[in-house]
Symmetry: C2
Subunit: 137 residues, 2 copies
DNA sequence: TTGCGTGCAAAGGTTTTGCATGGCA
DNA sequence: TGCCATGCAAAACCTTTGCACGCAA
């Protein structure tokens, strides 16, 4: 979270609208640019990267480095994710590339275990499990 | 694992020596290149990438996409990892950057659970848990 | 001899940066 | 009027590829 002053601009609003329209959907910076370009909206690549980076710092957007993709993957997780987090884990199939969303108590116990026994506070927003999906096993 | 015929070359040997000298240590392709360059050894960037990729396919080297690094991270895990796997999980602190090696039964039960209940076969060699280490919590 | 391996350089793709201009407060 | 934000283009990076030559088997 940072404390910079922020100006309300057209680009910032456009990006937020885009993000809020599809919570939980994954996209790359390039896809965002392509979307705006194809809709005749004007928002430069540099600005997309700058805003996205800022939102990640604010904890409003999650950034994943997904293996196999050369580019980073973003996801809108909500402005109040810290208030009532709809925690969701991610599994990525290294063979077909499918990204699976998962709600799972076992992962939550693992988190608790890691924290208690290993003093490591895992952040599910940033963690991706890699492996094989049911179709690729 | 693949079944291509393989020639024994000087570059392949040099790379293997380098890897075996530091099992469990993480490095990027660029670091490998820099090492050889600074030691006057001749092995091209393209070859480093090609051999590394091959070793990952063979399961001898693990490749991680570590958030924060723009480049991929490799680690020598051993030629007989499949015979007596010294399974080791990784936790990466998103604040100080520390990478922690971890042996943990709980993670193994999670793997079993993911497989049985979610039909997802997690690959611990590729998965990194992100979060905060004890010093940064 | 066969065909894999290597080096070089160029290409490809993603993300960052410098700088002048534009626009919110 | 101050700053922050934006756009453009160039730069910086990492990784992959094409091609000709070299070398192991």
């Amino acid at each position: 979270m940072n404390t910079h002053s922020r100006y309300k601009t057209k680009q910032r609003d456009m990006l937020m609208d885009y993000l809020k329209a599809a919570p939980g959907v994954h996209f790359t910076a390039g896809e965002v640019c392509a979307y705006f370009t194809s809709h005749g909206a004007s928002i430069s690549q540099a600005t997309v990267y700058r805003r996205l980076e800022e939102l990640v710092d604010d904890g409003i957007v999650s950034k994943y480095t997904v293996d196999g993709h050369t580019s980073a993957c973003f996801e809108y997780t909500g402005e109040d994710a810290h208030v009532h987090p709809d925690v969701c884990y991610h599994c990525k199939c290294v063979k077909c590339g499918k990204l699976i969303h998962l709600h799972c108590d076992e992962v939550e116990s693992l988190q608790a275990h890691l924290l208690e026994e290993h003093r490591f506070k895992m952040d599910p927003q940033r963690t991706v499990f890699y492996g094989l999906c049911e179709n690729c096993i």
